[in-house]
């Protein structure tokens, strides 16, 4: 990754134009060549520096549902519970965190009703109480990392 890659990563996090030749528009903005920009983006995708490049979807606005929830897992049961939770396809992300609430996961379901089914299933499988932390308002969602 060189300085040009870094400038591209910074610029492409802000949004991509809906022009017929959008890479040309980005290239002109940064003083680069269109084909060079495309090659660089391809390489950044292939090497995993960019995990995604394209439309970022808003699950709830598309009819799906998301929920952040936490568990207090006894340390000796942690690996077993992690395996039980991760086995559910509705679990999109799961993180271990340094706290009494030591497991935090996001449920993503086809419909809002699917969330309560998933919670019940996790409680049944793990024997633990799921603490739902539903979103009441969203102030900012974005990923802005200076490369």
């Amino acid at each position: 990754m060189d300085g040009t890659d870094r400038r591209l990563i910074d610029r492409l996090q802000d949004g991509f134009p809906l022009d017929d030749r959008p890479f040309q528009a980005i290239a002109a903005e940064l003083g680069l060549d269109e084909d060079d920009v495309i090659l660089r983006v391809r390489r950044l995708r292939e090497t995993g520096v960019l995990t995604r490049f394209g439309p970022l979807f808003h699950a709830e606005r598309m009819g799906g549902a998301l929920l952040l929830a936490a568990l207090k897992v006894p340390p000796e049961d942690f690996e077993r519970v992690a395996a039980e939770v991760n086995a559910l396809p509705q679990v999109a992300h799961n993180y271990a965190r340094d706290h009494a609430f030591n497991m935090w996961f996001v449920l993503a379901t086809e419909t809002p009703e699917g969330i309560s089914d998933a919670i019940a299933e996790i409680e049944r499988r793990t024997g633990l109480t799921v603490h739902p932390m539903p979103k009441l308002a969203e102030y900012f969602v974005g990923l802005r990392f200076a490369a």
Binding site: D35, G54, N94, A137, Y139, V141, G142
Partner: protein, 166 residues
């Protein structure tokens, strides 16, 4: 797997367009024209549909998402703040505007052991950098926050992302 429902205001072509772009945009000179060819419509119609989905909020934006670990952001803290309901919207707007905050939400608390209402994810290249970010938020909120905690992630247990199936 999340199936797109008719109720979301997406017609059949929109749904096919979403499926075609789940893995990303074609990395070609005319990416929208390439998508149009796959769907049997013009590139211009693809761009019109994408613009409409952005306006309707079903697409947040078209952009690159970096793997933040690859850019050196290895320290990630979920900061949680005890902000009363009557101050939360102002607090959320201020904290959400900070450049190092990637997500900022008002969430329902679970008293007594979880009184926190404002969640802000912060990312730094060192633990010190994250601690400085937390201090910045604390100073910004002042007495609007009655207490806070920072939960550092210690391990990713699963990260499959969201996949849609039509």
């Amino acid at each position: 797997m999340t199936r797109l429902r008719q109720t979301a205001g997406l017609d059949d072509l929109d749904r096919r367009l979403v499926l075609e772009t789940q893995e990303g945009l074609p990395l070609e000179r005319r990416p929208y024209a390439v998508l149009g060819e796959r769907l049997g419509i013009s590139g211009e119609e693809v761009r019109e549909r994408l613009a409409r989905l952005i306006d309707g909020g079903q697409i947040r934006r078209i952009a690159a998402v970096p793997n933040h670990y690859r850019l050196g952001y290895t320290h990630n803290g979920m900061t949680v703040w005890e902000v009363p309901e009557d101050r939360i919207d102002d607090a959320g707007a201020q904290v959400g505007a900070l450049p190092f905050v990637s997500h900022c939400y008002h969430r329902r608390p679970s008293p007594p052991d979880w009184p926190y209402t404002l969640f802000a994810m912060v990312h730094g290249r060192s633990r010190d950098e994250v601690e400085a970010q937390v201090a910045t938020i604390a100073a910004l909120l002042g007495p609007a926050s009655r207490g806070h905690q920072v939960l550092y992630s210690t391990r990713i247990l699963k990260k499959s992302g969201l996949r849609l199936s039509a």
